[in-house]
């Protein structure tokens, strides 16, 4: 044998045992929150570095290339947009002072604030807006959200390189810029409030390039050497920020690739100020602990989860089988996989999305109906004798170590009760993504959709419109095609009246819940908890860690400790430096 030497094997085994023996000791007890120094004083205080962390890492800091789920946090404090979202998810002015809707909804005119400045001190003008839009939507930009802006006049010609400028964006004065659309588009403002088109400094150039120093007009600015890949990112206050008095913080640091348990212990020590990632046992305890409850909050639900059934592959090409699956799943069981974060839900749009209609039909657990649908499908199943049902095992693909690996095991049990036998195939994440988006490959998969912008279109269009079907990398993983639904969604996108739009999306929801290309199962909500000395921290409907208005109110006890820690680091650094010098001299 060469795998692991015997002594190492024993050591490994002994280590496992020791770890297990230690695990039950004190790890379950939560430390007390670290109090604010002036809890009764609502006036913000200036200064201090906010320390955040994550188990993940970021790839690149550029609004034109939002390449992972974590970087929007960083982008959000570095880059300001013409418009932004408020805490409730409504579009509000930011760099734009105001806007007008002209030409029956086909033209948006934005008037910029005067005196708003980039981090390099230059004023933000309409030219910068156009240049930044063209930089983000140009042929060379790896912008994953570019298609969101396809209703801009001349988008296709500009993206393909046939035209040098984007005709749909025109400068009408130093502080006035127009966006012209080829047709009315109810999603235009919500997608404009996202990050890709946010103005960047002139030094970024007219075309996208990997080699640049992040520079925008957000409340914090990037510092040279402030990032180390896979370790941390630091930003400091932008003194020229256009909102008077903001930000209160001197700066923010993110530390990356931190183990979940380590994050918790650092948070309890006050080495991290806000905690966003949790072990399941910890989030349950924090939510229930009365000492911590005032300082924790759930984000609004921005994502849905479910079982996507490929409508082109048997047995899910049979609508009755799909209806049977949708009725057979007890969504409460899914919740128990992660009780604090998962909520049972049988609809394609999360409840927090504007336009969500609670009165619209949803999918529900109904075992008798599920068996009836199996009978109608021609595959009756008798639960007493466990006979009948679909005669073949059905492959079910999930990726390793994700939540779906657990919900899959529940699904196997639920569907066995109506005569559908699933075989779980665990693959790595890229394979899973490839299989789910590949035509004719996966009969049924676990799938989820995270909101890009708070609008029902962001859920219906990519997941269920037939134009989202592709041979590879199909967003419509159910390969569902329904001309009536397509027409409904197209009309809803052009409809600017919210009431009329709501009626159209309610009808779309009825169709999708009834024809069941997905069995919708749950929504997922993240939990944030902060130390009491982090003030003005509130959950946001769209962004994670919206800290522009936050301030720090540490007690004297924390202050000296932080200083002491800083002093220790300095002393250690000096010591190491002198040792290096000594070696160099030798």
């Amino acid at each position: 044998m060469r795998s692991i030497p015997g002594s190492s094997a024993l050591l490994f085994a002994a280590f496992s045992g020791a770890l297990a023996a230690l695990s039950g000791c004190k790890a379950g007890d939560l430390a007390a929150p670290l109090p604010a120094a002036h809890a009764d004083d609502p006036a913000p205080r200036r200064g201090g570095i906010l320390r955040l962390s994550s188990f993940a890492d970021i790839r690149v800091i550029d609004p034109a290339n939002v390449a992972d789920g974590l970087v929007p946090e960083v982008n959000n404090v570095l880059f300001a947009g013409l418009v932004d979202y408020d805490e409730a998810g409504r579009v509000v002015p930011d760099l734009a002072e105001r806007w007008e809707v002209l030409d029956d909804g086909k033209r948006f005119r934005f008037v910029l604030r005067r005196g708003a400045r980039f981090h390099d001190g230059e004023e933000v003008t309409a030219d910068d807006v156009k240049r930044s839009v063209e930089r983000a939507l140009g042929p060379g930009a790896p912008n994953p959200y570019a298609s969101f802006y396809e209703s801009l006049v001349g988008f296709a010609a500009f993206q393909s390189g046939k035209e040098d400028a984007l005709r749909g964006v025109t400068v009408e004065g130093r502080y006035v810029v127009d966006f012209r659309l080829s047709e009315r588009d109810a999603t235009f403002l919500p997608v404009l409030a996202l990050q890709p088109l946010r103005p960047v400094c002139r030094s970024a150039g007219r075309r996208y390039s990997d080699a640049w120093t992040p520079c925008g007009a957000g409340p914090f600015r990037f510092v040279e050497g402030g990032t180390e890949h896979g370790r941390h990112v630091s930003v400091v206050r932008h003194e020229g920020y256009h909102k008077p008095g903001l930000p209160h913080l001197d700066g923010i640091t993110w530390t990356f690739l931190v183990n979940l348990a380590t994050e918790r212990f650092k948070f309890e020590r006050g080495d991290i100020d806000v905690l966003h990632d949790f072990l399941q046992a910890d989030v349950t305890r924090l939510v229930r602990d009365p000492r911590w409850r005032p300082f924790g909050a759930f984000d609004v639900e921005r994502q849905i989860g479910g079982e996507s059934m490929n409508t082109e592959i048997p047995p899910f090409d049979n609508v009755e089988i799909r209806r049977a699956v949708a009725a057979a799943i007890d969504r409460e069981h899914y919740r128990l996989v992660r009780p604090a974060n998962i909520r049972p839900f049988g609809s394609p749009v999360p409840p927090a999305v504007p336009g969500y209609d609670p009165a619209a039909p949803v999918q529900r657990f109904d075992p008798a109906a599920a068996l009836e649908h199996m009978r109608k499908a021609g595959y009756p199943y008798d639960p007493a004798t466990r006979t009948g049902g679909w005669p073949h095992p059905i492959p079910y693909y999930v990726y390793r170590t994700g939540l779906a690996e657990y919900t899959a095991q529940i699904l196997v049990q639920e569907l066995a009760r109506i005569g559908l036998r699933l075989e779980i195939h665990v693959v790595n994440y890229p394979t899973y993504i490839a299989f789910t988006g590949r035509r004719g490959k996966a009969p049924i998969t676990s799938y989820g959709w995270q909101q890009d912008y708070p609008h029902p279109h962001d859920f219906f269009d990519p997941l269920f419109h037939s134009h989202s079907i592709a041979e590879e990398s199909s967003n419509n993983t159910a390969f569902y095609r329904n001309p009536d639904l397509d027409d409904l969604l197209d009309r809803a996108k052009r409809e600017l009246d919210p009431a009329a739009q709501k009626v159209l999306y309610a009808e779309a929801q009825r169709i999708v819940c009834d024809e069941a290309p997905w069995a919708f199962t749950h929504t997922f909500r993240f939990y944030d908890v902060h130390q009491p000395y982090v003030r003005g921290y509130r959950p946001h409907a769209v962004w994670t860690h919206r800290v522009q208005e936050s301030w720090l109110d540490r007690t004297g006890a924390d202050g000296p400790r932080a200083l002491l820690d800083h002093g220790r680091r300095e002393a250690l650094g000096a010591l190491l430096g002198s040792a290096r010098d000594a070696r160099g001299r030798r």
Binding site: M1, G6, F12, A13, G24, D282, H333, Q413, N428
Partner: protein
């Protein structure tokens, strides 16, 4: 004192044998006496008031897991899985390692005439393997081996079999074991007991081959082997009747330690997510699932960890006992 007496008086062997016996009994009887189906969730009784998995109780002897399944039933079924994989993978790796070691050691310093057809088939097998046709490659390799064993007719080439085999072993030893196993495991769209045991068996024979070869090098020079060759006995007969019995001791020791390694390897693979597909229970996977709960439901971690510890310790102690008992210096 006889070897058997030395073995039975060996304290480590006694403890190891007891642990192994307990493990075997647990694997055989555990699923029978368990009060729950290992694959069935009990959402009503499997959670406490805080919606955490319940701890050890009369209903759930070793607590429940995060999907409210009985840990005892899953550990017992996991024990069967671990034992079956470990024993069969050990059989495979030991057989392969012993065959290569004996062939290399016995032909050391000589050039063996290998039929050209076998050489061609081996080259073809490597090409097929590179082309992603493992089944055809295995068939070709089997045919090559058959040709090597039986082929006395037709054209042949003199080959330094020992150098060829041992340099092959050196090359394979250079691969990091876990990386190799995970890469092979990831190449399969789904993993079953057979897949795992074949992967482990085919990647773990290298050390055995080296040890057996070194032992054969000394055995082949003993008088009775030299005499058998002088009397004209066939090579297969000499290897089976004279060489193999004299290297059986080391092989038995390697095999018993190998079982422990296989249990550990299977657990590591499962822990890293490259093991058996769920919902089949596996100790390594249970360990992985338990770590998310170590602050709230520690039994989910210590139960599989304790079983891994006990079984690895048991087989290692048995191996140590065998080694001491068979040591000619004692």
């Amino acid at each position: 004192m006889t070897r058997r007496a030395r073995l039975l008086r060996h304290r480590g062997f006694q403890i190891g044998a007891l642990l192994v016996l307990a493990l075997v009994l647990f694997a055989v009887l555990g699923p029978i006496v368990a009060t729950h189906d290992p694959l069935e969730s009990d959402f009503v009784r499997g959670l406490d008031a805080e919606e955490m998995p319940v701890g050890p109780s009369r209903l759930f002897w070793l607590g429940a897991d995060r999907l409210c399944r009985d840990q005892f039933a899953r550990l017992a079924t996991g024990a069967r899985v671990s034992l079956v994989i470990a024993l069969l993978a050990t059989l495979l790796s030991t057989t392969l390692g012993a065959a290569v070691g004996i062939a290399a050691g016995y032909t050391e310093g000589e050039r063996v005439r290998v039929p050209v057809t076998s050489i061609a088939l081996t080259a073809g097998a490597i090409a097929l393997l590179a082309a992603g046709r493992p089944r055809l490659a295995a068939s070709a390799l089997g045919a090559a081996a058959l040709g090597l064993a039986l082929g006395r007719r037709g054209p042949s080439l003199p080959v330094d079999l020992d150098a060829l085999l041992m340099r092959g072993v050196d090359v394979l030893l250079a691969f990091p074991f876990l990386l190799l196993v995970m890469a092979v495991g990831a190449a399969f769209e789904s993993t079953s007991v057979v897949t795992i045991l074949v992967i482990l068996g085919l990647t773990s024979w290298l050390g055995t081959a080296r040890i057996v070869r070194s032992k054969v090098l000394s055995v082949r020079r003993l008088e009775f082997v030299v005499a058998a060759r002088a009397l004209g006995q066939t090579t297969p007969r000499i290897l089976l009747l004279h060489v193999l019995p004299n290297v059986a001791g080391p092989i038995a020791v390697i095999a018993s330690v190998s079982v422990a390694q296989m249990i550990l390897s299977e657990s590591v693979l499962a822990y890293l997510g490259a093991g058996l597909a769920p919902p089949t229970p596996s100790w390594g996977k249970m360990l992985f699932e338990g770590q998310d709960f170590f602050t709230g439901a520690p039994w989910m971690l210590w139960a599989p960890a304790a079983f891994i510890l006990a079984s690895v310790l048991g087989f290692n102690l048995v191996g140590e006992g065998l080694r001491d008992a068979l040591d000619p210096r004692e």
